[in-house]
């Protein structure tokens, strides 16, 4: 996914490809792919919409009138926004350091940044409990003495969410920074611009779309985190229960209407994020 924004298509190629005569196998491939994606993604996802509205707006209204669910939705959105802000500031900073500076351990850091993407959410939760757990975590008891509770509190949910979405902005910004090079930045610098001015006037506008793309992906990921949040949140109704935990709880308690309605809201936001990204992409990348 990282490479997607970094190459320039040859404008003549599409034309050449389309003038080549299509063979029957092309249609066979097309049908196989369409059928596969229909049964694996399109049909199942569309059923969530159908199941939400089987009783009209009753289910949706039901969850939006339940103060505990509204609290869960607010908590989810609040945590996701803070996590995205943290990951954007941190992500852009780290990207600049990785691409523009030489320091010992740069390669190692660059590899470690991707770690959160391939760690199981349950392991993420466990690792945070081991360090910040109030009873016998490494730092937890000390923090609780200072009045800061992390695990089974919103702060823990925030840490878990930030952890899992951490690499997304960096993975989008690093290739763009490598692509644009440093000539313009050097020119600005030699004309007397300060580091801050150079960043604001030269660097930021060129990485803008990469950052936006990373932010949208991080937002979708943050709103939807489930496993890591389940371990650290304590899942207390009206306090630390998030939207994804509501979906599980409602379904297991045979309130399928409520589960589908909450799932519908989450799916709506994530699909909207994907559609936004697919409209941003053409300006920067391949199509």
């Amino acid at each position: 996914m990282t490479e997607a924004t970094t190459f320039h298509p040859d404008p003549g190629r599409r034309a050449r490809l389309s003038t080549r005569r299509r063979r029957p196998i092309t249609y066979v491939f097309r049908v196989i792919v369409a059928v596969y994606l229909f049964f694996l993604v399109a049909w199942p996802v569309s059923l969530v919409v159908k199941n939400t509205f089987t009783d009209g707006l009753t289910d949706l209204r039901g969850i939006l009138e339940d103060p505990d669910i509204v609290h869960a939705l607010r908590l989810t959105v609040g945590v996701a926004v803070v996590a995205v802000v943290l990951n954007t500031v941190f992500g852009v900073g780290i990207s600049l350091l990785l691409v523009r500076y030489e320091f010992p351990g740069r390669r190692l850091l660059s590899a470690l940044i991707d770690v959160p993407l391939s760690v199981s959410p349950i392991v993420v939760g466990l690792s945070l409990v081991l360090v910040y757990g109030g009873r016998d975590g490494w730092f937890g008891p000390q923090l609780e003495d200072w009045g800061i509770q992390v695990i089974f509190a919103p702060l823990g949910i925030l840490l878990a969410t930030t952890f899992v979405a951490l690499p997304l902005v960096i993975r989008e910004v690093v290739p763009v920074l490598e692509e644009i090079g440093i000539e313009q930045e050097q020119a600005a610098h030699s004309l007397g611009a300060s580091a801050v001015q150079t960043f604001r006037r030269i660097t930021l506008p060129s990485i803008k779309w990469g950052v936006i793309y990373g932010v949208v992906l991080s937002l979708a990921r943050s709103l939807g985190e489930f496993g890591a949040v389940k371990v650290v949140s304590g899942n207390i109704l009206g306090d630390t229960r998030t939207a994804t935990l509501v979906v599980e709880e409602k379904y297991l308690n045979f309130d399928k209407g409520g589960a589908y309605a909450t799932a519908f809201l989450l799916a709506l936001v994530s699909v909207a994020c994907i559609v936004v990204v697919s409209f941003i992409r053409p300006k920067e990348g391949p199509r």
């Binding site: 299509r22 030489e102 466990l126 490494w138 930030t162 989450l266 699909v271 994907i274």
Partner: protein, 272 residues
């Protein structure tokens, strides 16, 4: 992204401000990611090698690890074939509605995993409109893994395929190579590093999957219980040592995958 561009863009050594920035970033990264992950390894090793080995070879745990790894391999094999085919259709074919396919491929990446489980359950569960019920069977694990890993091979192969020059293929064809020979001898060799990188990501994602299985697989020991669920039940039983031991097996798998990707990318850069 050639090596030349990379080295030309990195000229600066750290100054005062950037050094401070790096320090702050490293503290944040350590507190959030590195120290917690180190805590998992340390906790796992506290009981000594025998305790660690007994935990991960516990009958139920071993069954869960075996189930997870087997299904991850199976699903990755499917993704290698289907992912490459999907990338091919997206890059080389042109038809109305391609954009919809693009969106469909990204949905599993953005959809919350618990919602993914719920949507699969509504088509392939007890109330299936097409009469296919895989809930609480090992097929549910296959299905959930296929869903969540869908984007990886497609998204790594797609840009590489788009950059290939069709002229080489046309030349091969004009010299009498069949379509299949052209694909096998010209296209496939250039795609293999990308396919391998996508496969590694897809494998890593599958072994660590949790959310989409909660509602779908029933978490039956020895049948549909995956490694992540096993770790969670250890945490819930307040046995963090056992949880950490199994978690470090998963971490080991993740780290090997990251190293593999890194090696492959170096290989790619060298070929350029």
């Amino acid at each position: 992204m050639t090596a030349a561009v990379v080295s030309a863009s990195r000229v600066t050594t750290l100054g005062k401000a950037s050094g401070l920035g790096l320090g702050v970033a490293m503290i944040w990264f350590s507190l959030l990611v590195l120290i917690p992950l180190a805590a998992v390894i340390v906790t796992a090793s506290q009981g000594g090698w025998t305790a660690f080995w007994n935990t991960i070879t516990n009958e139920q745990t071993a069954a869960a690890i075996r189930l997870t790894v087997t299904h991850a391999f199976l699903v990755t094999a499917v993704n290698v074939v289907m992912g490459t085919l999907i990338a091919w259709v997206l890059v080389r074919d042109q038809f109305k509605g391609q954009r919809i396919l693009e969106v469909l491929i990204d949905i599993p990446f953005a959809l919350p995993t618990i919602v993914a489980g719920l949507v699969l359950l509504s088509l392939y569960g007890p109330n299936s409109p097409i009469g296919v019920d895989v809930a609480n069977t090992p097929r549910a694990v296959t299905l959930a893994f296929l869903f969540v890993t869908l984007p990886f091979v497609v998204r790594t192969v797609q840009p590489v395929l788009a950059e290939l020059d069709p002229e080489v293929e046309e030349a091969a064809a004009s010299l009498g190579a069949s379509r299949f020979t052209t694909f096998r001898r010209i296209v496939l060799p250039s795609l293999i590093p990308a396919i391998a990188a996508g496969a590694a990501l897809s494998f890593a994602r599958a072994v660590s999957e949790y959310g989409s299985l909660v509602l779908l697989s029933g978490n039956l020991p020895f049948q549909t219980e995956v490694t992540s669920v096993r770790i969670l039940s250890s945490i819930e039983n307040d046995n963090v040592e056992a949880a950490a031991a199994v978690a470090s097996v998963l971490l080991l798998i993740s780290f090997s995958v990251i190293v593999l990707i890194d090696v492959l990318q170096r290989f790619l850069v060298k070929r350029d």
